[in-house]
Each structure stands twice: as C-alpha cells, then as structure tokens.
C-alpha cells in the first residue's frame, strides 16, 4: 500500500497518514489481521520522523483500527474497528454540518452532494 503525503498541506502529516491507513482498511487494501510496518520502518519508508508515525499509530490504536502487539508488531485489528455508536454519529453530523452549510450557500444541490457521497462510498466498496 502506497502512502502519499502532502507536506505543503495544512493538514498535519500524522493525520494524513492516519486517514490514508483508514482508507486503506476501508478499501480492503489492508485486510483485518494484516500487519503494518513497524513505526521505524514506516518512518524510513515515507521519509518522515519517527514520532510522527508514532502519533498516527496511537491515533489509530485509540480508534480501534489497529492493535499494537509487543511481539507481533502492528496489525490491523482482526475484529475490525468498533461499530458506529452514538458518539460517532453525533460527531459525524457535527463535522458534516459546516460543509453542507457552505455547499448550500454556494448553491450546490443536495442531489449533487449526495452523488459525491455515493461516489466515494462506491470507491470504498470498491470495484477493486
């Protein structure tokens, strides 16, 4: 799996990494139980600082996406990430709100917005 970072983005590198790994899991590029490179080798591979990778891994661990074994190293959570719960739904809606407000103001129709969502969902389900 290839990681593409944008060092000029406002988005922190560790978060870009986190998101790409989650997307990798969503798309099935990373299977449950599959192992991830160690912090060290990941850092070396993509040429970033150790701490940055570590921060990302901690984030993924907190989110239940990966588990960090002392022996087996880093593996994608074999049981998959925890199911959507109430808190997640709440957060999601709050996060979506500003995007939709802006879209609405700028005349992007609900239909087109939904198409974007569908298209990305399709991308995840993947004809991969």
């Amino acid at each position: 799996m290839i990681i593409q970072l944008d060092f000029e983005s406002e988005k922190p590198i560790y978060q870009q990494l986190t998101e790409q790994i989650i997307e990798g899991i969503a798309k099935g590029d990373l299977q449950c139980g599959e192992s991830l490179p160690s912090v060290r080798s990941m850092a070396a591979d993509i040429g970033i600082n150790l701490h940055t990778v570590n921060k990302s891994y901690q984030q993924l661990k907190a989110g239940g996406y990966i588990v960090i074994h002392r022996r087996k190293g880093v593996v994608v959570n074999p049981e998959g990430p925890p199911a959507t719960d109430h808190a997640f739904r709440e957060n999601l809606q709050e996060s979506l709100r500003p995007y939709i407000a802006e879209s609405f103001c700028r005349g992007l129709s609900q239909e087109e917005f939904q198409q974007f969502v569908s298209s990305i969902y399709r991308d995840m389900k993947g004809e991969d």
Copy 2:
C-alpha cells in the same frame, strides 16, 4: 443571531465563528445585504479579542460571504457567495473522503450517511 463558541474545542475560535456565520447565512438567519456587527462590538458581544473576529471576517470576505463596505460597515454579500465551482467541488470531495472512509469502516451504511446529509440540508432549507 446567537453565536455559540466552544473555547475547549481544538477548532480555532475564528473558524468556529466563520462557520457559524456561514450557517447563519445558509439558514437565512442572516439575510443578504444585512449588516453584521463591527469587529469591535462582535468581539465584545462574544467575549473574544477583536483580532480574532477580524480574522474570521477576513476569511468570510475572502470567501465572498461578506463585503466590507466603506460606509455601511460589514454586510452579508448582497449577491450571495460565489456559486460552486470546480475547485470547490474538488475540495469538498477530498474533505468528505476521510469521513466516509471512517464511516464505512465502522459499518455506517450509506443510507444512514445519506440520511444525515438530508437532515442537515433540511435544517438549512429550514422550516424556520
């Protein structure tokens, strides 16, 4: 129009303010051509520094949401913000992607996601 800020949030205050004003415009709480409080009075009202308000206003001005008028002060852009363009669509899709990836991983169905979107869109169109 009431502004609600969360000073504990990671989201910068000026951005919270920006988003709330955009939402206000979307919902029609702020009509096009209506004037906004001066940076000073807005700052006093919500108990933050005037520079923070100013930063938000500059952001809104750059986005075409408001206009800084030599005589009328700060007013909601009477012509409304610029219509959705290609760049906006691109950005939006890129922004949505991580939310959808995460939702997908956590088993949130596309249908439920779409319902969230619909619900927020309804909120904007507003039975207000």
Copy 3:
C-alpha cells in the same frame, strides 16, 4: 462628468474621487478653466461626506490640478497642472516597480505590458 465610486474598494473614497477627476482632466472631459461643483454640491451629488470631497479637493489643489477661488469657486487650473519634474519621474518609477516585478514573475511579457500602457495612453488622448 460622471463619478463612479466603489464603496467596497480598499482604495479610499477620496482617492478614487481624486483619480477620477484627474482622469477627467486627462481625457478632456474637464477642460482647463472649467469649474467644478463646490465641495457641498459634489458631496450631495455623489452621496458622500463633505470632508471626503474636501480631502480630495485639497489633494488636487496640492497637485496643481485645481485652484480654489474664494469667489469663482473650484476651477480646473487654467494653466494646467505643473509639468513633469524630477521628483515625479522618481516617484513614478518607484511606483511602477512592484507592478512590473509581479508581472515579470507571472510571465507577462514586456511587450504585452507596453501594449497595456499604449492602450491606456490612447484612451487618454482619446478618440473622444
């Protein structure tokens, strides 16, 4: 002669007014010796503050474009504005410099720049 002000511009109103009057003189819309509305009536005509018009007139007077008679009111300097001198040349070159630097950076050829200048000069000489 019609004055067009942009109240949303960053450029101060008094300066917009000054520039438009100078342009009027350049184009011959305002002939030397012709009289201009009084501060009061000009202010009323274009719907701005008295002081703003006054500031503009003072500027034009300082530049030798107009003379303010106690009796005859405001008239375009019958002898025309003072000829270009060394100071003016210096200032002009210093003012032009940033525009040219930016144009150069962004790949605007000298030829095209010169064409812009020619075109505006033609506009002044006027097929009016």
Copy 4:
C-alpha cells in the same frame, strides 16, 4: 538578499516586505525552491514584529509565490507563481490607469513612460 524598509512610508511594512520579496524572485536573487528565513528570524533580522512578517508571508503564499512546507519551512514556490491570467491583466490595467492619467496630464510623453517600463523590465531580467 537584503531587505530595505522605509518605516516612514505610508505603505504598510508588510507590503513593502512582500514587494521586495517578489522583486527578489523576479531578479533571480531568490531562486525557485530556495528557502526563506523563518518568520522569527526574518523579523529579528529586519527588526520588526513577527506578526508583520507573517502577514507578508501569508500574502505571498496566497499569491503562489511561496509555499509553507511542513519540513523545509518557507520556500519560494518551486513551480513559480501562477501564470498571468485574465483577472491579473484586468487588475493591472486598472492599477496602471491612474498613473498614466497623471503622467499624461503632466505632459510625460508615452515614449518616456515606456522607457521607464523598459528600464525596469531590464532591471528584472537583470544583467545580474
């Protein structure tokens, strides 16, 4: 590269700085990809506040002249600033207009004006 500021000028300091950096890029004193001092060290070097430098840098970033890189710090945009577009041409012509009107009024010939332009363009192309 040496920065020369005029603290007495009406022109804001941050804008003087911006213009000098653009000129530096135009003249080739600052090569594409070259890095600029951090806001802090630049501020210390020229004896101004770091926020003032920051404002200038933000302006340059918005104009595509520089890029704020997560690791390399502030660097001159390796791809150069965006090419001249329609909006830029329009703005440029509008900006030039008052200078030319004034020059015309004061009897500065088009030829001499063009010589100034040529001379500055030469300065940029630089026999450096």
